[in-house]
Structure formats: C-alpha cells, structure tokens
Symmetry: C3
Subunit: 210 residues, 3 copies
C-alpha cells in the first residue's frame, strides 16, 4: 500500500470513528436507548452512508460491511459514546471538527467511487452527498427525528460542494491525494463556517416566521 | 425510438414531475424544512419507488438514478414546489390528477419490468405497487408521518389493481401501448373515484370508533 | 428434499407466520391503519429482515420476495391479525413463543447464509442479527415508534447469541439440523428468559433515572 493510500485509509477510519461517536451521542440525547441501541445507531451513522452508496452501485456486499476494520472502528466509537456520554458532552467542538472531517472525506470518496464505476458527473455528485449524509439520516429516522440534514444548518450543502469539487478535478484529469484533499478541504471549510456562524440554507418563501 | 415508446417516456417523466411537485408540497406542509430538504424530499418521492424496484430486482445502479432526465425533472418539480409553495396550494385538483397519473404509470411500468425480469405474477403485482407507493412512503417516514398509504384513502389499492391489470394483460399475450394505457386507466379511475368520494379501505373490525 | 431440509422449511414458514401475525398486531395497536396498512406491516415484519439480508449480500431478487410460499404465509398472518385483532390480544404468551421461534430461526439461517456466501465470522453474526430484527425495525419506523430492539427488552441480544452459536458451530465443522437447532435453542432460551424475567440490556451510565 502506497503512502497516499495508507493516509487515505487512516483518514477514512478517523472519519468513521468520528461519525460513530457523534452519531451515538446524538442518539443518546434523542431517545431512551440501551447499549444495543447506542452502539447500533453509532455504527449505522458511521457505515450507513457507505452501505447506501454500495447498494445503489450494486457493489455488494458493501465495503464498509465486509471490511472488519470499519466495523471495529465504528463499534469502538459507539461503545466509547455509550460509556462516556456524560463526559463527552463537554467536548462539542472537537467532536464537531472530527465529524466535519468525516463528512468531507465521505463526500469525496463517494463521488470518486461513483465516477470510477462509470456514473455521470451529476450522479457522482449526488452519490457523494448521499454517502456523506446517508448514515446520519438513517439514525435520525430510527430515533424519530426529522433528519437535521433536511431542516437546518449547513450539512448537505458542504457535502455537495466537496463532491462537486472531487468530480470536477477528476474530470480535469487531476487525481490522487492532492485532488482528494483539496476537494475535502472545500467541504470542511464550508461546514466549519456554517457551524461557526450558524448559517442555514434558505427556507420556503413566506414561511420563515411560521 | 418508436412513437409508443416516446409517448411512454414522456408520460413517465410527467408522472415523475407530478410526484416530485406533490411530494415536495406535502413535505413543506408536514415539516419545517430548508431548500435542501424540500428538493430532496421531492426527488425521493419521485424516484424512490423506482429505486426500491431496481434494488429488489438487482438491476443496479437504478434507472431513475442513472438517467439524468429523471433526475432533472424530479429536481425541477422540487424546486418549483419550493419557490411557489404558497401559490400551488390552491391548485389541489390539478396536482392530484397529475399525481394519480404518476401512480398509474409507475404501477404499470413496475409490474411490466418485474415480469420482464422473470418474476412470477404475484411478485410482479407487488413490485408494481411498491414502485407506485414506495417514494411517497419514504418521504412520509423522513418527515415523520405514518405513511398515508398505510392508514387512509385509496392509494395502494388502485396501484395494486393497475399492476394486476398489467400482469393479466401481459400473461394473456397483450403488450404494447394499448395494454399499458388500459391498465393505467384502471388505476387512474379507481384513484380518482377514491379522491372524489373520499373512499377508504376497511379498518380493523371494532376499531372504527377508537 | 431431505427430511431435515423439509423440517427447516416448515419451521422457517412457521417463524414467518408468527412474525407476520405479531408484527401486524403490533401495528394495529400502534397506529390507526386500514387493511392495506395492517397486512403490509405484517408482511414487512415477516419478510423485511430476509430482504435486507439478501440486499446486503447482493443475492437479488430476495428469496423471501421470489418464493410465493413466504409471501402467502406472511399475507395470511397479516390478514388473520386484521380480522381477529381483538381476540388475539388475549393470546400474548403463545404469540410471543412463536415470535421467539421466528427470531431464533432467522438469526441462525441469516448467519448460515452469510457464511455460505463467503462473509467473515463477525459479519455473519451481524447479518444473522439483522435478518432476525430487521423486519420488526422497519415496521416500527413505519408506525413511528423508536424501534423496541434499540430501547428495551432482550431482543437483539438473543439473536446475536444465536447467530454467534451458528457461526461457531459452522467454523468447527458442525453442520446440519443438529447445529441449526442447537444454535436456535440458544437464542430461544435467552429470549424466553428475557420475556419471563423482563430483562433489559444495560443503559448509558447515569441515565437510568432520567
């Protein structure tokens, strides 16, 4: 494995861990769950987007389900959230940074995998976005929340921009670690600006004050 | 492309547009969403049934996801709903007619695709019904409603009848535009009668007044 | 078909029937549904786990969708629940026993199918558990409950133990009816102990009284 590929794998696992941790903590706050529920929802948050991606591509069984490293890291994140939920609630900022890192990498790898299997550019951008936000959406449905990605904050928009950047660079013939990191940075910066300044996507006209 | 196939494609796109418009409007009413949420839910309503159908058949990536025309028409319907939500609320009847058209065509094409890939008759009827009602069900789950298809009105029943008509005509050796339109008409008429006379499927005995 | 395979098929159909009956009854209690909703939710409870399993394995169309016997038995269970909902509510214990039987068999067959298609041991255990609890989880999402499997009672844990027992015996080279029944018994006994003594999986520390 080359240094670049190894770096990407490590970052992908870091993103998986962050998604599992953050997903499980969100689940603990949103519903009255036992250990099975907390760990399951952490794993679904971390692995769900990649599973939806692979189902849509027909590349089954899904990578994140077959590869034990993803399963182990996701289960670890969920277990840590279960045992340390109270203490971790103070650490909002570092967890949000890690979560944005996961979002960025998932959006970029999702779009890249889509292009590699022959999807068109628009489809690859959508697939990257689904990869990034799909796991959190599944979790929100299971704990009976309207998925935050549909209602507030900038979450899908940075993922869409990161996936678009990855698609454009690939179409320009730029591949490799630099293209990946550049595209992921687009998503990461927009996401962190959204968190910092509490930005929101537009709401339907005339409904803002309803 | 023959005239019949072109006509079917046009009608399928009209149905997709109607589902996206109606789905996004329903989503605007049911939850507090931003533009990402409204367009996403419009697209899920329009494309979700076809995606579930293709996942069940293993014909991946799903047609409605690979074909940019479906994506563009669905996104257009969602965007129009977002910007014109207030004005469109007056147009209930034309939107319901278009929606019934979409329901009819999706039920018939779902069953026809199922038969073409070797499913049995009962399975093809179920698949047609899932194609027709699957997208709206996904939307309702995401905006946290009990899917209306499960609880009130005649929505699954006309789809089931249309899919059954398509299956029977195919088994009798009648194919082509006439069989498609005849079967779709069965669904369309039952659906519009259901809307007009506010018909409901039976409820569990002894629970009507609970 | 050998006597062992026939016995397994019969038991699998009994489990499917029990899941459909129990799933439809739960749905009747949880939401205001019509006959379409009750039968659909019974069928989803009974067949959903196997469908998720086959989607993840890429073995499509799913067996429980292609094989009319599963469809017929599941629809029968849903219809009986619809017409006899009031009377069946008294029969909690026999229905719970049948449901535990279904849980046990689905966990074991899910894990066994996973191993047969080349999954690793951990993945096979997870797949068996998903097969056993997936249908009920889909139903709970559709009737807008936080899935009970995530929040209370011992439901996923016995399925996990049964799937693990099936995986260990298969890895030890023990196959056939005896291994299947031994593993299913592990799940069944733990499940029934959980029901009898109202056992729960641990909750997050410091949240027990919240």
């Amino acid at each position: 494995m080359s240094g670049g590929a190894l770096l990407l794998l490590v970052l992908d696992l870091v993103g998986t861990f962050a998604f599992a941790l953050n997903g499980a903590l969100t689940a603990v706050r949103a519903a009255d769950l036992d250990i099975v529920g907390v760990v399951t929802l952490g794993m679904i948050t971390a692995l769900g987007g990649g599973i939806i991606r692979d189902v849509l591509l027909g590349s089954l069984p899904p990578t994140t389900f077959s590869d034990w490293r993803y399963l182990a890291v996701a289960a670890g994140g969920g277990l840590i959230a279960f045992f340390l939920a109270r203490r971790l609630e103070a650490l909002t900022t570092p967890i949000e940074v890690l979560d944005a890192l996961g979002l960025s990498l998932f959006a970029v790898t999702g779009a890249t995998v889509g292009l590699a299997t022959g999807l068109g550019a628009v489809q690859a951008v959508i697939l990257g976005t689904i990869t990034a936000v799909g796991g959190g959406t599944l979790r929100d449905v299971l704990v009976r929340r309207v998925p935050t990605v549909l209602s507030s904050g900038l979450y899908a928009v940075p993922a869409l921009l990161g996936a678009a950047a990855a698609t454009v660079t690939a179409r320009l013939g730029v591949y490799g670690v630099v293209a990946t990191f550049g595209s992921a940075t687009v998503c990461f910066v927009v996401r962190m600006l959204g968190v910092r300044y509490e930005l929101n996507a537009p709401r339907p006209p005339g409904r803002r004050n309803s």
